[in-house]
């Protein structure tokens, strides 16, 4: 996998999530990008069951189990600021066996679905982030296929991002910063999605607490 940047596109003023996604995809099509199927990235959250906490004496940790349609036979499991395990899909079966120790927070299953666009060496995925039935935001993933070292191609990626995201272009992802010359891997993309999903979950909570004041 090439170096990838995952970011959030804020919803345009006065428009819905779907309309903003349409604006973005139209821009991409005008640039000359070709539609190439769909994609889906999902994330389930597990937390250590109360029964295990007592004997371990540590605060409950959140574990994220994610899937990416780009790697259909894999499953990614990660802790925030912790290691990211890449495993095959039997890991989901193991999580069922671990039901007594790790409880799934069913309500917080979050996913992003959308279209894949190929533009020369760039693969762009624009997705609608949903939690249950409601759309919560927009994710934009851009991968530059030929390069696997982040520091070598960040400026090129940035230029491309600016061409269709304009003022909403993100800064360099945190995963790039930690290891300058390390080979980029799919686990780094999943960490970026986890951070994006967490940000979106928090944003929605902010909106919900404002409502009573209106």
């Amino acid at each position: 996998m090439g170096v990838t940047c995952v970011s959030q596109m804020p919803v345009a003023e006065g428009k819905s999530v779907q309309q903003t996604v349409e604006l973005l995809t139209r821009k991409l099509e005008m640039l000359g990008a070709e539609k190439q199927g769909t994609f889906c990235v999902d994330c389930e959250t597990y937390h250590t069951a109360a029964s295990t906490l007592g004997s371990q004496g540590q605060a409950g940790k959140l574990m994220y189990v994610m899937h990416n349609s780009e790697y259909p036979l894999s499953c990614f499991a990660l802790f925030e600021n912790g290691p990211c395990l890449v495993a095959d899909t039997n890991f989901d079966v193991l999580m069922v066996k671990l039901k007594g120790f790790f409880q799934s927070a069913k309500a917080s299953k979050i996913e992003t679905r959308g279209t894949r666009y190929q533009y020369c060496d760039f693969l762009v995925k624009v997705g609608t982030v949903t939690m249950g039935p409601s759309a919560r935001g927009i994710s934009v993933e851009v991968e530059y296929g030929p390069c696997v070292v982040a520091s070598d191609c960040w400026s090129l990626l940035l230029e491309f991002l600016q061409s269709f995201l304009g003022s909403h272009t993100p800064g360099a992802p945190a995963v790039f910063g930690s290891r300058h010359d390390a080979v980029y891997s799919p686990a780094d993309t999943m960490v970026q999605y986890m951070e994006l999903f967490n940000k979106i979950r928090k944003q929605q909570q902010v909106i919900e607490t404002r409502k009573p004041n209106q």
Partner: protein, 208 residues
């Protein structure tokens, strides 16, 4: 807490339950060559395969009486091979006529940071060992003849000592739940290895 017992149901929650059928026995070191010779004749024609594996057993203790056990295994002689994580359920009790030990198993290939990840989940390593031996196949049956080595200094797989003067012989099949005919085939194969080695259904609980 162990997972709820897996019965004859082949599918639970959308995934197929895989069961491991197992027969075990052992041979003294001096009988190894004749056993290998017979296995080479009986099993599928392939280059003799040897292996050196390092296995670590992790436990997750909860408030329940029995901890959750996971086995992490990696190859010491094949670079680039993925790590292997294995869950084995309790042996299914029931049919006394069933010739092999049957237990639910889940096999997962993972990246190299498996041990760090398991520690983060709350697992703690209970014990580790090195297994060195030979691998044979006959159809879906797998036959392994290996010696267990104790690791003297935790984490150091170079410095090991043999646990006994014998080799462990295991005949196993991983198949979807409900296919008991597999154990008949295993028994028939085991008959052909007598009297060099007697492969039996050994209930781990009886040893404790």
């Amino acid at each position: 807490m162990e997972a709820p017992p897996v019965t004859m149901m082949p599918v639970t929650g959308g995934t197929i339950n895989m069961m491991e059928y197992l027969l075990q026995g052992s041979v003294l070191d001096h009988s190894l060559e004749s056993l290998i010779h017979r296995l080479r004749g009986l099993c599928d024609n392939m280059e003799p395969e040897t292996f050196v594996d390092h296995e670590m057993v992790f436990l997750l203790k909860g408030q329940q009486a029995s901890p959750f056990v996971l086995r992490a295994r990696r190859s010491l002689d094949r670079t680039g091979a993925p790590w292997h994580l294995r869950y084995l359920g309790q042996p299914e009790m029931g049919d006394k006529n069933r010739h092999a030990l049957v237990r639910n198993c889940v096999d997962i290939a993972t990246s190299e940071n498996l041990t760090d990840f398991l520690m983060e989940m709350g697992f703690r390593m209970d014990h580790e060992f090195v297994a060195r031996g030979h691998l044979f196949r006959k159809g879906i049956m797998k036959i392994v003849v290996y010696k267990v080595f104790r690791i003297l200094v935790p984490g150091n797989t170079e410095n090991t000592e043999a646990l006994s003067l014998s080799y462990l012989v295991e005949l196993s099949v991983v198949a979807p739940a409900g296919q008991d005919v597999v154990s008949d085939d295993m028994r028939n194969f085991a008959e052909q290895l007598k009297p060099l080695v007697h492969l039996e259904k050994i209930d781990p609980k009886r040893l404790m």
